[in-house]
Symmetry: C2
Subunit: 582 residues, 2 copies
């Protein structure tokens, strides 16, 4: 038996509802987006009573499928003004799934303005309890208090940034060691939680019935194929690139390609890249010994294990984890090459409840505006700390790059639909630019990671500097991703799936095994397209049309060194991506 | 002979160009909008090199036609993201027209970032000169320096707010006594000037050839009819409502109607209305004697003379002028009933270069956010002063109500397309709401002033609380206004024209007389519709579609006392307004 948990903050009620038949075969992003489209008026105020925040583990989350511990969070984004899905890998996803909870839908507003509550879920049901004592705490303190009070539980929470309704507030989940380090970071859904007065969710999965698997044999067959593919592919295998160096292995790769956005997207190469690269990170962790570690999984059952725990020079634990995006955003993009300073910036984000990507892009814009100098690590630390303090400056920075750019009249603002661009320069990698421009999510690399063929020679090979054929490439990647984001699998399994067809089969078989569906690998694309179509309809109704599927203007006229290329994918080509889906 | 003056800030050039034939019969708004649509890419950054700021006196400006000293300023708005025209009545408009200058088009960006220039225009031509010594000055100091240095000239300028690229920076013009008090306030065009490094324009009209009138007899006939109508109508005649009490006569009227937005649009009646009403203002001015005066014209040749000069208790001059919108915005909307404090707030706006409407709406939102209490006059004064200082708080407040609302997570934000609503509550006066929602300009009462029949029984009578027939009403008012805004006439002449058909004829005859056109009164509507159609096409290309023709969500569910009505004009009705023009 599986449920929707409907939490009404206005009434203070928690109801377990039967899952309507039309939602039965949905999960993750497919489910959060369907619920948001069905229940949230597109033109509502993102922080008002008519928005909702929805949490949904993936289709196979909670099973023994490898790397499947992801959960989607959905709602109308305060950052983009459009639909939003952000996901994270966390044991909390697995616990919810094992409790039979297919989605949590949070609606309404707290009766008393500014009051906060904790939702507690277990096999015995759910209830809201006052959480005033947890308000204003940093997330590390929060995590400690939860552990002390509730013992062996998982959690979801918004940090001080979310409480303060800042648009770059992410949704925080615990990692396997109870750190507040796994974020569904993008799009400000932490602020939507904050607006609802939902400080967090505490999940006790003791005695949970587990996920019902309709066809266990099929599931096992698929699982085996998938595991084999992951263990075979150079990127995903134990001892492979991700496992050994973490995602920050990409720093050197992108720097080499001239596509590592540097000093607020003013160059594609960073002279300090080597000092913050994955190889360097792994080496330093190994040298410092102590609490640092590479090959750290974000949830049990992950066999890729791309995470890490960073240690201070004295070996004490500093922060988990130094991912590519965070290291780039708070490093290269700010002209900062001091990896310990970058780690501290990541820690501040984790503690305040901020999206590291948006934080780094915002700091870059603030540097462009002259608030601090590029490369000023201590200045960046001070600036970022303003967010949790709630100062006027924190109320600027905390709303992200587009907002900060507007505040200070900056024209070089690397955002699409108000969301800061991730760590791939569109002027140097044309296909990923198409994903940024046309994704329903605003600038988002995970929405259609064409970097695979454009840079990594995974899933074929495409010239990064050529716009040729990239509209179709991005469309297919975006559709496939919409499916994968619904399964609960980590997107990184696709590295293996793109090159190893049996892996793709395996993934679909595990899904069919759990749900009793009969999908083929070809259906993946079609199901993904349906999700995108729904999301785009929401965005159009919300006022995001063609004019919002565009690069920031400066990328059209400012050539990017070292290739000195502008963003030359024509508007017509951008409109082709979803022309057929409109 | 008439000219376009094309000022290229990148090249430092000032060129006089022949007016292309297609622009010959345009003026004011019709001309600024045509040039913006033809020359500015709709998706450009409003503060980037591809936006332009255009100044155009009206068709009959500079002639002896009564109340015709208005000038339009156009560009892409940093506040709304759409096309913008704002206009003001000022001798500067008349001087430009008499110099034969049909439009000034300012383009490019200053070569040196942050540098500022003054454009000097006279019968002998034009040139740019460095204006570094004027940067950072308040507008009163600026006006004094200009007078001291250049003598009997007129000016256009942006204040410190414009230099700082704040979205609520207006464009300032001198009044007939050299005060920096006449503003094309709305939509942040002062910031566009600032981004171009154009501190101001100094206009010496000595020896100007004057406006060429194609058919002087027809012009005189029309002029006579128009003057007669203005002298006959109760609202516009000497000793009539506007002349005696100024526009703030509306305070009591709207308060009575329950449509005076109070304390950030949370009520439609203000208990302190009587203390800030036009009648009270006139009485105090008369009591205090000294420098205060009512019946003050904004430019020579105005026979309505609705302005005033406010004096301090000791009779010394304080500020000009206490208009309805300013008094409402900085008074009732902030819960402030101290008229001297309101006058000081208006002075701060004039000095910093801020739009008083946006300033008042923004202060209301800031009060809602809890930054200061409603009614705290000194707090409001302090807060508004932040804008010119350039503090982080000033960089929030200075970007207007929508931006401030976003910064602090406020859901009761009375804006449309990012622009603050003026002094008429849509929930109490449904037709003006339609204008707010559907105007190309964002929330703007002057764009289609249905208050005339809804509240003032001018031009017929319509029930303010009924949505019935209001789509058509608003459409017709918007189209007529687009024409009037092109003529150079003050919109207030329409009070007389709506009730006195010969006045309308007279207006059209003066236009035909000047331009040699052969338009009928019926053409007014059609010409206006063409202007709107063009403006809407720009907005659509800029990303402003149906979803942006909507009320702020809270007005849909929050009933407004005393009528306890929500905004109940359906979306479909809003879409009907321009359905035919799309």
């Amino acid at each position: 038996m599986s449920y929707f948990v409907r939490v009404n903050m206005s009434e203070g009620t928690v109801k377990f509802e039967e899952v309507p038949e039309k939602y039965r075969t949905l999960g993750g992003r497919g489910l959060t987006s369907a619920i948001v489209c069905d229940e949230v008026p597109a033109t509502c105020h993102p922080l008002g009573p008519n928005n909702k925040v929805v949490f949904a583990p993936g289709m196979v989350t909670g099973t023994a499928a490898p790397c499947s511990g992801r959960i989607s969070v959905g709602g109308k984004s305060p950052l983009t003004g459009g639909i939003k899905e952000a996901n994270a890998g966390t044991p909390a996803a697995q616990s919810l799934a094992r409790l039979g909870i297919k989605a949590i839908i949070v609606e309404g507003m707290p009766r008393e303005k500014g009051s906060f509550y904790l939702l507690r879920l277990s096999k015995d049901g759910g209830q809201l309890e006052p959480a005033g004592d947890l308000v204003g705490l940093g997330m590390y303190e929060f995590a400690g208090r939860i552990k002390a009070k509730y013992g062996d539980v998982d959690f979801v929470a918004c940090g001080p940034a979310g409480e303060k309704l800042l648009s770059m507030a992410g949704v925080c989940f615990n990692d396997k060691d109870d750190r507040p380090s796994r974020y569904a970071g993008r799009g400000g859904l932490g602020a939507v939680m904050g607006s609802k007065g939902l400080k967090g969710i505490v999940i006790d999965s003791f005695g949970a019935p587990g996920v019902q698997v309709v066809d266990p044999d099929l599931f096992k067959t698929g699982q085996r194929k998938l595991v084999e593919a992951l263990r075979e592919h150079g990127v995903t295998k134990p001892g492979g690139t991700l496992n050994t160096y973490g995602t920050a292995a990409l720093i050197n790769v992108l720097n080499e390609a001239g596509g590592l956005p540097t000093r607020n997207f003013s160059a594609g190469r960073f002279d300090g890249a080597g000092k913050i690269a994955g190889e360097t990170i792994a080496e330093i962790i190994s040298q410092r010994k102590g609490k640092g570690t590479t090959g750290h999984p974000c949830h049990p059952g992950c066999i890729i294990q791309c995470g890490n725990v960073w240690a201070r020079p004295d070996g004490s634990e500093h922060v988990s984890c130094l991912e590519y995006e965070s290291v780039w955003a708070l490093g290269a993009n700010c002209g900062i090459d001091d990896i310990d300073a970058v780690a501290e910036l990541v820690w501040i984000c984790n503690d305040a409840g901020l999206d590291t990507i948006e934080a780094g892009v915002t700091l870059g814009v603030a540097m462009e505006a002259g608030l601090i100098e590029f490369g000023d690590a201590q200045g960046a630390i001070n600036l970022l700390k303003e967010c949790a303090k709630g100062t006027p400056l924190g109320h600027i920075i905390g709303h992200g790059a587009a907002f900060t750019g507007r505040a200070f009249g900056v024209t070089r603002v690397p955002t699409v639909k108000g969301q800061g661009m991730p760590a791939y320069e569109p002027r140097a990698v044309k296909g990923i630019g198409i994903t940024y421009m046309t994704s329903t999510m605003g600038a988002d690399h995970t929405a259609g990671y064409t970097i695979a063929p454009e840079i990594l020679a995974v899933g074929g090979k495409a010239d990064p500097l050529s716009p040729e054929g990239k509209a179709e490439l991005s469309r297919n990647y975006q559709a496939t991703t919409a499916f994968v984001d619904s399964t609960g699998y980590c997107l990184f399994i696709t590295f293996a799936l793109l090159d190893i067809p049996t892996g793709m089969e395996g993934m679909v078989e595990t899904v069919n095994g759990v749900l009793g569906t009969n999908w083929s690998t070809a259906d993946v694309l079609e199901i993904g397209k349906e999700i995108l179509k729904r999301e785009r309809a929401f965005n159009e109704a919300a006022g995001l049309g063609k004019a919002h599927d565009r690069p920031p203007e400066f990328m059209r006229y400012e050539p990017l060194p070292p290739h000195n290329s502008v963003y030359d994918v024509p508007d017509e080509e951008l409109d082709k991506v979803f022309g057929e889906l409109r």
